[in-house]
């Protein structure tokens, strides 16, 4: 009975930096079942596995706009600033980014623990 909604995954996304893997079911800017939201980059998208709502999606990763590596959206691997950049590329060109981002990166260098807010609200 549940088959009708289960989209078969297109493939498995694998982050080239942290080796995170996730099956994705869509690649592009307009995830299915969510007309009102568009993505600003070509992304690898899966159905949000943590909610029963079928229309919810989760962006897992995309290509770095500089080096073209596949990276996940995790803050240890990449950041988005109007485009996706993998952290190695950001580090190499740190001057190109506004101070706010540079400060963020500095903060990240001290032993990083995931912010508490990431658990649940």
């Amino acid at each position: 009975m549940a088959c009708e909604t289960e989209r078969t995954p297109l493939g498995v996304f694998k982050c080239q930096l942290c080796a995170l893997t996730a099956p994705y079911s869509y690649q592009g800017r307009q995830p299915p079942d969510s007309q009102s939201v568009v993505l600003l980059e070509e992304s690898y998208v899966m159905r949000d596995p943590f909610t029963p709502d079928k229309g919810r999606f989760l962006v897992v990763g995309s290509r770095c706009s500089m080096c073209g590596r596949l990276v996940c959206v995790g803050p240890e691997c990449s950041l988005f600033y109007s485009k996706r950049f993998c952290l190695p590329c950001v580090q190499d060109n740190v001057d190109a980014f506004p101070q706010e981002i540079q400060q963020d990166l500095e903060k990240r260098k001290v032993p990083f623990t995931r912010p508490a807010s990431q658990r649940s609200s």
Binding site: A22, P49, R56, S65, G74, K83, R84, N93, S117
Partner: protein, 1146 residues
């Protein structure tokens, strides 16, 4: 802060502002519900990412408020911005926005309502506010993405950190090369959750994983579904007795061992699976051991089936060598170091009397923890005690200590607790307070509680052992095994370093058995043997078990099944046996079902059978609560406990259909665990379906309500229920609560408990059990059944008791003759094998033992003595019971009272008489002395006839069922198995028989008397010249007892006695009222004549005037010519008669 919205270029905000007054900027209030609704109308439509009124929508507004507060703080600081513009070679860097705005860090965008529909509700929103709102929405969506991704990443990190993660590849590799692989790993290594996922990732799509416990199937399916990111999909499912989430898309299914065996019963080669994981093989459950045996035999036939055996690191070589030295992958567990403290208990001068457990050593540990560890260091205590009595012995003083120190919350944990109370152990203690959980060995493997740092191990366990000779279950205390001790210890090291206090010496530990005794060595094997027979695995005695059961318990089981008619004399499954093998219940309960359906008592029998197959619904706490006892009283039946259960269930169904939701409260007031009633309803339905499948019950023609309106109504109701269920399931389980520290001594009394559950109930307004119940069952049908059962006539009641009595036979006890002069609490009973058993305290007769006493007094011997010994009465009763359980005393559990003489005449397997039939001995242990020979003979003759009728009706019923299964559904509705008239006549006669009033005495024979019961083989073998006395049978001399075997159970005149030497001569003149014969006759001869008198009206002797409309000869449809090899004679026999006949030669 003016948002950089204009650059978006999406949605021109130049339309005239809506002239609504609240739009004035100075009065703008985001908290105004109307304002919010306006925005929700515009942005949260049905097609949108967030829907109006959803939980998500609420979350958004909370987020919105936080964001606003945050931004108000920020705007003051973040005014100046430096607009540097360095040169960059890479084109990707060239067009980065110059001025920083957090908005650029978000990789998605939301279409405003205007972009979609210019006439939509968005028109009326002031542009700045709309853009502010949209901005917040973006941040919210980004936050959601980060949150979800964070969870995904965390999940993967945790999975990768499990000890087994490094072995995944190796395991898959091994499985490629071998058919069977053993994965051995200790608690916490992750084998149960990960191995199925590795298989899934490797592309397997038909994986079954068996678990010994139902609850583990559900929780593992949930966990694995979650981890494999298909929590809301159907890749991972479970299948247990009453519930299944399995669908065509399911790739991994977690199921109980019992269920897998049932699947094998249908298809031994398990074609539906590619890989089979058998988890927890080290626990050595009966079913698991059997499954391994069946697999070992089956594997050569299924070379493509892969099997993974998963075990703790216990006795691994046993499993490996059983499967031809299967490779073992050993995975280290993940446990933090645990300090073991041995605190042997010197035999202290116990202040308390007798065997009650001394709680002081346990309190000392609590004290020691308080002294040694500061309260800020968290970590709870888990105490392993042997049983419920021990838990309550420690509970009270521990709670006193807790309320004194305010540093502990003490909670019991055992299987008889209500589900809600069991759940409390998962709640958290407030800061500075520790939980102290007093548990049976349920917390050793079945229940895993997080946050345990300290373990106290009493070293004892109470286990059910089985005495095959007495057919008695015994709950005894034993020392645990080393393996269990290690398992208990391990519970302290799951979340951090821990301490384990062992209340025994290290030398004790060394003396413990290495492993627990496998279940197969300590339980009754009836059900197992029956299942083995139905799976045709050959002789159970030679079955290659991993470790064979004791031969005596196998023999007892086989004998028992033969006694119960499930196996014939060649130990092959009888029709009734093959039916019983498919009923997932005790043999006796299965028999009740079959008998009940024959007498059109299916509805009440279904309920009773279900009730007797689940744990008692009566909670313990209510036992001591007079209020509960009083509210429960109207439900009690003085006929016996199964009838009380029947009343409880029926009334509950009524409550449910009348007042809907109140059933929970209704149960609580009466000290009833509602969960058990739900189980009963489920089981009842399963039984019903089984009976229907086997043609024993007319299939239910789904009673569709006639008009389309009510059909629609019902459909709507169901949809609403589904919706409720779905929403409940979204609310991911039960949230942990913070426990309260009690202020006073009786903080854990049931009152507090009640308040607690009530508040809990208020929080979760949906009674999900109720919803599920209504989805699964047709309440109207159940209600109809319940009310019909409540309106049981006296006759139906009596028949029902007959059905139960026959089902439960030979489980019966006789009241001690001196009971009537004893205190209510001192009533004792005797079974054939066990003397001095007592009623279980929950038994209804405990409070009213007088209903078991023979009331009317008559002459002979009753010279004022107040006992029932030798008392002549027509109302002697026996107690038939469902089980015999020995804890500190042997208890009769679930009792029904039945009239003694009539029941014994109808049920006993051996019935011996003296010359004039006034003295009867049933099954060699109960003696009945009848006052009047004439009525004795009449009753005996009637019982013979009734038994024959009943037997043949049952035979035909079962034969019909067997035929139906062979033939296809060509002739859908042939005639009913046994026609109504016949059953009605049989019922009538049985009832008449049951109510016949004959004075007699009832007595248990002493050992010596039982030994010298029979006259023994006689040299003179002149058959008694009493044609027709016992129907058409021709008596033959009994080879061992003496006298004459009249039927396979009745032996005439074999009892030694000094009184009837003259009986043959005591003739008096008598005239036959029918043919006018006038002769001196003994009573026996007189009856013999009456039975055969050619002039007598059809219908036989008085006492059973209305004979069956169809004489016994009718049964000839089933009779076949039979030639007996042993006695070289030809007969015309029904299949059962053949069996019976053959048994004579054994």
């Amino acid at each position: 802060m003016p948002p950089p919205r204009t650059r978006e270029g999406r949605g021109p905000w130049d339309r005239p502002r809506a002239p609504s007054p609240e739009a004035a900027p100075e009065k703008w209030n985001w908290n105004c519900p109307e304002t919010r609704r306006l925005f929700e109308d515009a942005f949260f439509g049905d097609e949108d990412y967030i829907r109006q009124g959803s939980e998500e929508c609420q979350k958004f507004w909370t987020f919105f408020e936080r964001l606003q507060r945050f931004q108000n703080l920020k705007t003051t600081r973040k005014e100046e911005k430096d607009a540097r513009q360095p040169k960059h070679s890479h084109p990707a860097l060239a067009d980065l926005p110059r001025a920083y705005d957090p908005r650029y860090r978000i990789n998605l965008s939301v279409l405003g309502p205007d972009a979609r529909d210019s006439r939509g509700p968005g028109r009326r929103l002031p542009p700045e506010r709309a853009s502010e709102f949209r901005q917040a929405l973006l941040h919210y969506l980004d936050f959601c993405q980060k949150q979800a991704f964070g969870r995904l990443a965390k999940l993967q990190r945790e999975r990768a950190a499990l000890p087994i993660a490094q072995y995944g590849h190796h395991i898959l590799q091994m499985l490629k090369e071998h058919q069977v692989v053993v994965v051995a790993g200790d608690t916490g290594c992750g084998k149960s959750t990960q191995v199925p996922q590795y298989l899934l990732a490797a592309g397997c799509s038909h994986v079954a994983c068996t678990q010994p416990r139902r609850i583990a199937c559900i929780s593992l399916a949930k966990r694995v579904g979650f981890e494999s990111l298909s929590q809301y999909g159907s890749q991972v499912g479970y299948q247990i007795r009453f519930e299944s989430t399995r669908s065509a898309a399911t790739k991994i299914v977690f199921l109980t061992v019992g269920l897998l065996l049932r699947q094998m019963q249908r298809e031994p080669s398990l074609p539906q699976y590619q890989v089979l994981i058998v988890d927890e093989v080290h626990e050595r459950h009966l079913h698991n051991d059997f499954l391994l045996g069946v697999l070992q035999r089956q594997l050569p036939q299924r070379p493509d089936l892969k099997v993974v055996l998963m075990s703790a690191t216990i006795n691994i070589s046993l499993f490996s060598s059983y499967f031809g030295n299967a490779p073992v992958v050993q995975v280290p567990g993940r446990l933090f170091p645990i300090t073991v403290v041995y605190q042997p208990q010197e035999a202290e001068p116990t202040t308390s009397k007798s065997e009650k457990l001394d709680p002081r050593p346990f309190l000392r540990v609590l004290e020691a923890i308080d002294n040694k560890y500061p309260p800020e260091e968290r970590g709870d205590l888990l105490v392993f005690l042997s049983g419920m009595a021990e838990i309550s012995a420690v509970l009270e003083p521990a709670q006193a200590y807790a309320s004194h120190t305010q540093r502990w919350v003490v909670l019991p944990l055992h299987s008889a607790l209500s589900v809600a109370d069991q759940d409390k152990v998962f709640d958290v203690a407030p800061p500075g307070v520790r939980k102290c959980i007093l548990s049976t060995n349920i917390a050793e493997t079945s229940v895993t509680i997080d946050g345990i740092r300290f373990v106290v191990d009493s070293g004892k366990v109470k286990e059910m052992s089985y005495d095959p000779q007495a057919k008695l279950q015994r709950l005894q205390e034993f020392w645990i095994s080393q393996a269990s001790a290690e398992q208990r210890k391990g519970r302290a090291g799951r979340t951090g370093p821990g301490v384990c206090f062992r209340l025994y010496a290290e030398s004790d530990y060394d003396a413990f058995a290495p492993y627990p005794v496998p279940e197969i060595r300590r339980v009754a094997l009836d059900a197992l043997v029956l299942q083995m027979k139905s799976m045709s695995v050959g002789d159970p005695r030679t079955f290659p078990f991993i470790e064979p059961p004791p031969p005596t318990s196998l023999e007892t089981a086989i004998l028992y099944l033969r006694d119960q008619g499930a196996l014939d004399s060649s130990e092959a499954l009888t029709p009734i046996g093959s039916l019983l093998a498919q009923l997932p219940v005790d043999v006796v309960i299965g028999k009740m079902l079959i008998l009940g359906s024959m007498f059109h008592l299916a509805e009440p029998v279904l309920t009773i059978a279900a009730a007797l197959s689940v744990q008692t619904p009566f909670t313990r706490s209510a036992q001591s609560n007079p209020e509960c006892a009083a509210t429960r009283r109207p439900l009690e039946s003085d006929q016996g406990d199964p009838f009380t259960l029947l009343n409880v269930f029926n009334t509950w169904v009524q409550v449910k259909s009348e007042r809907g939701r109140n059933s929970r409260k209704w149960c609580r007031h009466r000290g009833i665990e509602e969960h058990r009633l739900y189980e009963m309803a489920n089981l009842r339905r399963q039984f019903k379906e089984l009976l229907e499948d086997h043609g024993l019950l007319a299939g239910a023609q789904a009673p569709q309500p006639g008009d389309s309106y009510s059909r629609l109504q019902r459909r709507r109701e169901r949809q609403a229920l589904y919706e409720l269920k779905r929403r409940h399931e979204e609310g991911v389980g039960r949230k942990r609560k913070v426990l309260r520290v009690q202020d006073d001594q009786d903080g854990w009394s049931s009152d507090e408990d009640r308040g607690g559950s009530a508040s809990r109930g208020a929080g979760d307004s949906v009674d999900i059990q109720d919803v599920k119940f209504k989805l699964r069952h047709n309440l109207e049908q159940l209600h109809a059944a319940a009310s019909s059962a409540q309106a049981l006539t006296r006759d139906q009641m009596a028949l029902l008791k007959l059905v139960l009595g026959r089902g439960l036979y030979p489980q019966l006890a006789v009241p001690d003759p001196f009971n009537s002069s004893r205190k209510d609490s001192d009533q004792i009973f005797h079974t054939q094998t066990k003397q001095g058993v007592v009623l279980h305290p929950t038994c209804v007769f405990t409070n009213s033992p007088e209903v078991l006493h023979a009331q009317e007094q008559a002459a002979r011997g009753s010279d004022g003595s107040r006992d029932d010994r030798d008392k002549m009465s027509s109302k002697h009763q026996l107690v038939t019971f469902v089980s015999l359980l020995e804890t500190n005393k042997p208890y009769l559990v679930n009792c029904v009272r039945i009239p003694a003489l009539q029941s014994l005449l109808l049920f006993s397997r051996s019935l011996d008489t003296n010359g004039d039939c006034s003295r009867l001995v049933a099954d060699g242990w109960l003696e009945l002395q009848l006052a009047d020979t004439e009525s004795a003979v009449r009753l005996l003759a009637a019982s013979l006839r009734l038994r024959a009728h009943w037997e043949s009706a049952l035979d035909r019923q079962l034969a019909h069922q067997a035929r139906r299964r062979l033939e296809d559904e060509e002739e859908e509705e042939e005639e009913a198995p046994v026609n109504h008239k016949e059953v009605a006549a049989l019922s009538r006669e049985l009832l008449q028989f049951m109510t016949s009033k004959v004075s007699y005495s009832l007595r248990r024979l002493t050992g010596l008397e039982a030994q010298n019961l029979y006259v023994g083989p006689q040299t003179i073998t002149a058959a008694p010249s009493l044609p027709g006395l016992f129907g058409n049978s021709t008596p033959s001399p009994h080879p061992t007892k003496g006298g004459y075997a009249v039927t396979d159970f009745l032996t005439y005149n074999c009892l030694t006695s000094d009184a009837d030497l003259y009986s043959d001569c005591l003739r008096t003149f008598w005239t036959c009222p029918h043919c006018g014969l006038h002769m001196p006759l003994t009573p026996l001869e007189r009856i013999a004549h009456e039975n055969t008198c050619p002039e007598a009206p059809q219908g036989g002797p008085p006492g059973a005037e209305e004979a069956a409309p169809e004489p016994p000869q009718k049964a000839s449809a089933l009779q076949k010519p039979y030639h007996c090899e042993a006695c070289q004679k030809d007969f015309l026999f029904t299949p059962t008669e053949i069996l019976r006949h053959r048994r004579q030669h054994v």
